[in-house]
Every structure is written in structure tokens, then in C-alpha cells.
């Protein structure tokens, strides 16, 4: 089973990468960009075939490692 974990910064947490990209896009002449945030996607391939069990495992992976819940939110997506 394939899964994607999307990790994004919580609203209110400053995002140095997003800010730098925003600035750079402006410098490159792209107008009308109002906000930029950068996040991560972790794509996993799991041996598990049961969706519920896979989701539970992924949730635990996120809490234990993949996301830092002090500053990040995460979302799990099973892609097949």
C-alpha cells in the first residue's frame, strides 16, 4: 500500500523557506503572489494491505517521528 504524509507548518509558525521563496519570486518579477508556505511530503510504501491498520500505523509514525507537533501539522493520504 502506498501512502503520502503531508507535513505542514502550523499557522502562526514562521516559515523561513516560504518567506525566502516568496521574496525570490518577487525578485524574479512574478507578481501577485500573496503567500507562500513550504511543506514536506513523505511518500511511503507499506507492506500492510489493510487500510485501517495502515492508517493507524502511519498516524503513529507521524506522532513519533515524521512530524514535530510543536510546530507542524500532518495529514495522511492512502494513495492506493
Amino acid at each position: 500500500m502506498k501512502a503520502k504524509v503531508h507535513v505542514t507548518l502550523k499557522p502562526g509558525v514562521l516559515d523561513p523557506q516560504g518567506k525566502a521563496i516568496h521574496h525570490a519570486l518577487g525578485a524574479l518579477g512574478f507578481q501577485g503572489v500573496e503567500e507562500v508556505r513550504q511543506g514536506k511530503v513523505i511518500e511511503l510504501e507499506l507492506a500492510e494491505t489493510d487500510r485501517a491498520r495502515a492508517e493507524a500505523a502511519l498516524d503513529e509514525m507521524c506522532r513519533k517521528l515524521l512530524a514535530n507537533t510543536v510546530i507542524e501539522n500532518y495529514a495522511i493520504e492512502l494513495t492506493d
Binding site: 502562526g12 509558525v13 514562521l14 523561513p16 523557506q17 513519533k64 515524521l66 514535530n68 510543536v70 510546530i71
Partner: protein
């Protein structure tokens, strides 16, 4: 003062730290490998600088979950002092032993240079040999030293003497130019609630020798050695 320095895969300033601890205490620290689950009886545990696990995913994230950290946490809860420098600071925040998080430097570039620190709380066992407001010049060398905590946490830190060091300029002002990485309120180091855990980004251990990085970092180690003798 008996101390232990934890070696994670990718640690690279463990020997700098060993030299500084030995200079201050006259005793060789024990080196403990990240896969170990036991720690020797020590008065101080140190998490050194480096790029543990390459700092892939997030700086310090994987090291914070390594086997030895369970024991570090247990000791910290018992009140054994823990010092984390640079990557060590990142690991302590990732492990939840210190509040906040260390994000990518605002410049998005690695920065290695001397910075000036101001001691914000001299009433702890780490800062006993310093005066409040004392300034010291020590090098920093990091990619992810941009301290962030939410407003409540910042307030709590501020009110409880939880901020250990701030980046300041030559006149002691917390200016933007003095801040090498974009840290909130120029925070360079923080304590836990009981002031027994300290994390800071710059490297006092690289400022213990007049020929290498100056001697301003000695105060931290000498103060510790005295407090924990």
C-alpha cells in the same frame, strides 16, 4: 564533575566538547554511543554539536528518538543536569526536554562566525560563574538555529527566567544585525522549567582556548565544574 558526552551518528563536535569538559573538570568525560541503553553515573550529560543522522527530516529529530535518549530523559527527570549545544539543543527540543523548535536560519544559509551572547539568567547551575548581562564572544556554526516558540511559551520563558542567552551587538543591544539566524527575540539558549536542562546554539566549547576561539566560553564549563564538584 563526572560527565558523559553522547555520540550520535553524525555528531562532529564531541571531541571539542570533551576537551572543554576536561579542561574545566580535570576529568575525561565518558563517551556514550547512541545505541547504548545505559549511562554511567555522572553529574552532567552533554549532547554535542554535529549533524546527527545528517539532520535529514528535521535537525535533531531522529537522534531524539534514539535508544540512549530514553535514559537521558529518565536522568533529566531525576534532576541530572543536561547540556545540549547546537545539534544537542535541537535534539533536546525535538525530545521535548526543552520548549520551542529550531528552524532553518532565516538566511537559509549555514552560518559560522563569532557572535556575542548576553547572559540573561545568572542564577542557575550553568551560569553561576557569569553575571547577569555579561557579554561573551563565542563562535556559532549551524544551519538550523532559528529559535521559535509560540507566544504563550515565550511569555512563560520570559517570566520564569527561562531564557538563558540572547544574541546582542557590541553594545549589548538585541539588534537584527546581531542575530545570526532570525531567532525570535534574539534567543540563543533556553532552560527547562527547573533550570537543569540548558540548550544553546553557539559553541562555548570552541571558545576555551586563546589560540582557537578565545576563552569566553570557559565561564560556562568552570561554573558547571564548580557547581557539580
Amino acid at each position: 564533575m563526572r560527565s558523559a558526552v553522547i555520540v550520535f551518528p553524525g555528531s562532529n563536535r564531541e571531541m571539542d566538547m570533551v576537551a572543554a569538559l576536561e579542561q574545566a573538570s580535570g576529568k575525561k568525560p565518558a563517551l556514550v554511543f547512541h545505541k547504548d541503553t545505559e549511562l554511567p553515573e555522572v553529574d552532567l550529560i552533554v549532547l554535542p554539536g554535529g549533524f546527527s543522522h545528517g539532520d535529514y527530516l528535521r535537525a535533531g529529530a531522529m537522534a531524539a528518538r534514539s535508544p540512549v535518549m530514553a535514559e537521558v530523559r529518565r536522568r533529566a527527570e531525576k534532576g541530572v543536569p543536561v547540556l545540549g549545544v547546537c545539534n544537542g539543543f535541537q535534539i533536546l527540543t525535538e525530545a521535548g526536554l526543552l520548549p520551542g523548535a529550531l528552524m532553518r536560519n532565516a538566511s537559509l544559509r549555514f552560518v559560522c562566525k563569532n557572535v556575542t551572547l548576553r547572559c540573561e539568567n545568572a542564577q542557575t547551575l550553568f551560569t553561576g560563574a557569569m553575571e547577569a548581562g555579561q557579554r561573551m564572544t563565542v563562535p556559532c556554526a549551524h544551519m538550523d538555529g532559528n529559535y521559535f516558540a509560540d507566544a504563550d511559551t515565550m511569555k512563560r520563558l520570559e517570566d520564569s527566567g527561562g531564557i538563558a542567552f540572547r544574541y546582542v551587538d557590541g553594545e549589548g543591544r538585541t539588534t537584527e544585525e546581531a542575530n545570526p539566524n532570525g531567532s525570535l527575540d534574539n534567543v540563543a539558549g533556553v532552560f527547562n522549567e527547573t533550570k537543569t536542562v540548558l540548550g544553546l546554539m553557539p559553541h562555548p566549547e570552541d571558545a576555551t582556548d586563546p589560540l582557537h576561539g578565545g576563552t569566553d566560553g570557559r565561564a560556562l564549563f568552570h561554573g558547571l565544574a564548580e557547581a557539580l564538584a
